[in-house]
C-alpha cells in the first residue's frame, strides 16, 4: 500500500502507456483550427488571424482579435458551464436560451434609470418606484429568476421523473412565452450606469473564466462533482449506493439556471437593452461548446476545461470567418462541418489511442 503502487496483487502497471487526457485532444483540435485559419489568412488575406502583421499593437499578437474571440463566447460560455454539469448527469437543458430571454426582460425592468435625456423613461414596467434601483436588485432578480426556472426543471426531472429533454423543452416554450408576455414584446432599455458596468469591456470574460475555475475545482475535488459524474455514469448504481439522486439533480439544475440568469444579466448590461427574442438558440450553442469540448451526451464523461476549450473553438471559428470574409451563406454550412469535424477528430484520436495502446 505504498504511495507509488497503482493497484493490488503486486501487478506491474506500465505508466508510460497511460492514455492522455481527452482535453488534450480538444486542445489539439483548437490548435489545428487556428493553424488552418492562419494558412488561409496568409494565402487569401495576406494577414494573420492572431498575430499582429500590421504593427498596430505593442505586442506580437493582434490583441483586438484575441479579445473579441473570447468576449463573443463568454456569455454563452457561462451558460455552457451549467449545461456541462447537466449533460454530465446524462441530462440535457434545452431551456437555457429561453430562460436567458425571460430573465433578460425581467432583470432589465429593475435596472432602468428614471431620467433619459431630461425626459422620464417611457419603458418602465412597474412605474416610478422601480426606477434607479441599486444595482444589486436587478442582479439578484436575474439570478433568482434563473434559479426558479432551474428549480422547476430540476423538480420535474428529479421528482416527477420526466425525461430532461421534455422537461426543459416545456420550460423552453414556457420561458419564451414569459419573455414575450412580460412587456408584451416591447424592448426594455436604458439601465443605470452601475448596471451597465457589469457587461462592459472584459468583464464578461473575467466572470466566465473565474466561474470556469471555480467549477473546475468543484467538479474535480468535491462531493458534488463526484456525485454528478456518478449519476451520469449509472443512475441506478448511484441510487443503490445511497446517493440522494433527486436532491442532487435538483441542485445541478438550479446551478445551471442561476448561470443562465447571470448570463442574461451580463448580456443585457453589455447591450444596454433587453429584447424578448434574446438568447434564441443559445441552448444549442452552449450544448455544442460542451460536446465539442468532449462532454459525452450519454453522461458520466466530460470536463469544465474541455467546455472552455470548446467555447474557444467556436470563438476562433466565428472570428476566423469574419477575418476571411467568408460569405454569410457559407458560414453556417462551414460551421456545421467544423463542429462535426472537431468531434470526428476527437473520436478518431480516441480510437487510435485505444488501438495503439
Amino acid at each position: 500500500m505504498s504511495d507509488s503502487s497503482e493497484g493490488t496483487g503486486g501487478l506491474t502497471y506500465d505508466k508510460s502507456k497511460r492514455q492522455w487526457p481527452n482535453e488534450l485532444n480538444v486542445l489539439a483540435a483548437l490548435i489545428l483550427i487556428i493553424i488552418i485559419f492562419e494558412i488561409l489568412g496568409a494565402i487569401f488575406m495576406q494577414q494573420s488571424l492572431l498575430f499582429d502583421t500590421r504593427d498596430r499593437f505593442d505586442s506580437i499578437f493582434n490583441e483586438a482579435r484575441l479579445r473579441i474571440i473570447i468576449i463573443q463566447v463568454a456569455i454563452i460560455g457561462i451558460i455552457a458551464l451549467g449545461v456541462t454539469q447537466v449533460i454530465i448527469t446524462a441530462g440535457i437543458d434545452l431551456s437555457s436560451g429561453s430562460v436567458v430571454g425571460a430573465t433578460a426582460m425581467i432583470a432589465m425592468s429593475f435596472a432602468q434609470v428614471a431620467e433619459v435625456s431630461g425626459a422620464p423613461n417611457p419603458k418602465a414596467i412597474f412605474g416610478e418606484w422601480a426606477l434607479d434601483l441599486p444595482v444589486i436588485v436587478p442582479v439578484m432578480v436575474g439570478l433568482g429568476v434563473g434559479m426558479i426556472a432551474g428549480l422547476i426543471n430540476g423538480f420535474l426531472i428529479a421528482y416527477s421523473r420526466i425525461p430532461p429533454f421534455i422537461a426543459t423543452l416545456g420550460m423552453m416554450l414556457f420561458a419564451r412565452g414569459v419573455a414575450q408576455w412580460w412587456s408584451l414584446g416591447n424592448p426594455v432599455s436604458f439601465p443605470t450606469d452601475a448596471y451597465a458596468v457589469i457587461g462592459s469591456g472584459m468583464n464578461p470574460v473575467i466572470i466566465f473564466l473565474g466561474l470556469a475555475l471555480l467549477f473546475h475545482f468543484i467538479m474535480n475535488y468535491t462531493v458534488y462533482g463526484k456525485h454528478t459524474y456518478a449519476i451520469g455514469s449509472n443512475e441506478a448504481a448511484a441510487r443503490m449506493s445511497g446517493i440522494n439522486v433527486p436532491r442532487h439533480l435538483l441542485l445541478v439544475y438550479v446551478i445551471a439556471g442561476a448561470l443562465a440568469g447571470l448570463a442574461a444579466v451580463i448580456l443585457t448590461s453589455k447591450n444596454l437593452t433587453a429584447q424578448s427574442g434574446m438568447g434564441l438558440s443559445y441552448e444549442l450553442e452552449a450544448i455544442a461548446m460542451a460536446v465539442i469540448g468532449g462532454v459525452s451526451l450519454f453522461g458520466g464523461r466530460g470536463s469544465i476545461i474541455g467546455t472552455v476549450i470548446g467555447a474557444l473553438i467556436i470563438g476562433v471559428i466565428t472570428s476566423g470567418f469574419t477575418f476571411l470574409r467568408l460569405g454569410a451563406y457559407y458560414q453556417e454550412m462551414v460551421l456545421g462541418m467544423i463542429i462535426v469535424g472537431a468531434v470526428a477528430l476527437d473520436q478518431w484520436q480516441q480510437k487510435r489511442a485505444a488501438a495503439r495502446a
Binding site: A64, L184, P187, R325
Partner: protein
C-alpha cells in the same frame, strides 16, 4: 365583431409597434374583439392559423404575412370560406388577383432600404468622402424578406453613379440582434481595415455596431451609421449624435388601419383595395417630428 389576426412574429420590435396599434384600437372599440396569434415566422403555421380562425367562425381575418409569396394559399382558403381578409404591413404577391372581399394595408419594403442608403450616401458626400469611401453592412436573418430586400437596396444604391464611390468591404448577418452586431463589428474592427459607414438592416444592429465602435474608441463623428425602424433607442442615439440615419414607418397607423378596413369589409362597404403607407426618412434635422 370577432377578428382573427396572424402576425409574423411577436418578438419583432417593429411588428410589436404595429400590434400595439391594433390593441389600442381594440381597447377603444367595444364592438371589436381581436384574437392575435403569433405565426413564429412559419409560413405553414400561418396558413393553419387562418384555417383555425375559419373553424372558429371569425368574422374577418388580418394577416401580416410571414412570406409574401405564400399569400395565394391564404387568399384561397379565406375566399373559399367566405371570410373577409386584410393583409397588413407586407405586400402580398397576389395583389393583382386578390379575390373579392380582400384588401391590403401595406408599405413597400423597397423604400426603407433605399431611403436609408441614399441618405448615407449624401452624408458621406457632404463629409467630403466622394473620392472614395468604405462601408460594412449588417444583414438581418438571411431567411427574412425585409433583410434580403434592404440588403439589395443598399447594393442598388451604391451601384448608382452618384454613390458608386462607396465600396462595401464586407457584409455579414447579425440576425437582427444588437448583441451579435456588437460582436461582429468588433471582429471587423480587429482586422484594422479603415471604414467610413455602417448600414444595419435595422436599428438594433446599427446600435450594436455603435456600441462596438465606441468601445474601440472610434469617434462617431467620423462614421456614418444608418438603420431602419426609428425605434426610441435609435432616436435617442441620434439625439446623442451617434446614429445618423434611420427610417420610420407608421406601424401603429397600419395596425389600426387594417382593422378599420376589415370592419368595412365585414359590413360590405366599398373599400380601397390598397392602402399605401409610405416610409419616412429620419435624420437629425427632422428628428423632432418623431420624438413622442
Amino acid at each position: 365583431q370577432q377578428i382573427g389576426v396572424s402576425v409574423a412574429r411577436f418578438d419583432d420590435n417593429g411588428l410589436t409597434v404595429m400590434r400595439n396599434g391594433m390593441t389600442a384600437f381594440d381597447e377603444a372599440n367595444d364592438d371589436v374583439s381581436l384574437q392575435i396569434e403569433d405565426a413564429t415566422d412559419d409560413v405553414a403555421k400561418q396558413l393553419d392559423q387562418i384555417n383555425n380562425f375559419i373553424a372558429s367562425g371569425v368574422d374577418a381575418i388580418i394577416v401580416n404575412a410571414v412570406d409574401t409569396n405564400a399569400t395565394e394559399a391564404m387568399s384561397n382558403a379565406a375566399a373559399a370560406a367566405g371570410v373577409p381578409l386584410v393583409y397588413v404591413n407586407r405586400q402580398p404577391i397576389n395583389m393583382d388577383t386578390l379575390p373579392e372581399g380582400q384588401a391590403f394595408v401595406a408599405s413597400n419594403e423597397i423604400e426603407s432600404g433605399t431611403l436609408a442608403a441614399f441618405q448615407m450616401c449624401r452624408d458621406l458626400r457632404a463629409a467630403g468622402k466622394s473620392g472614395g469611401a468604405t462601408a460594412y453592412m449588417l444583414m438581418g436573418q438571411l431567411s427574412n424578406q425585409a433583410a434580403v430586400q434592404r440588403s439589395k437596396d443598399f447594393h442598388d444604391v451604391i451601384g448608382m453613379d452618384m454613390c458608386n464611390f462607396i465600396t462595401l468591404i464586407d457584409e455579414q448577418t447579425a440576425n437582427w440582434s444588437r448583441d451579435e452586431a456588437n460582436d461582429l463589428m468588433t471582429n471587423w474592427i480587429s482586422s484594422g481595415e479603415p471604414f467610413d459607414a455602417v448600414f444595419g438592416n435595422n436599428d438594433e444592429m446599427a446600435l450594436g455596431a455603435i456600441q462596438a465602435m465606441k468601445a474601440a474608441g472610434i469617434s462617431m463623428d467620423d462614421v456614418v451609421v444608418g438603420g431602419v425602424d426609428a425605434t426610441s433607442d435609435a432616436l435617442l442615439s441620434m439625439q446623442a449624435g451617434e446614429m445618423d440615419v434611420t427610417v420610420f414607418q407608421d406601424l401603429a397607423g397600419q395596425g389600426a388601419g387594417s382593422i378599420e378596413t376589415a370592419i368595412a369589409l365585414i359590413n360590405g362597404e366599398e373599400v380601397d383595395r390598397t392602402v399605401f403607407i409610405p416610409f419616412k426618412l429620419v435624420t437629425p434635422d427632422n428628428i423632432g417630428d418623431f420624438l413622442q
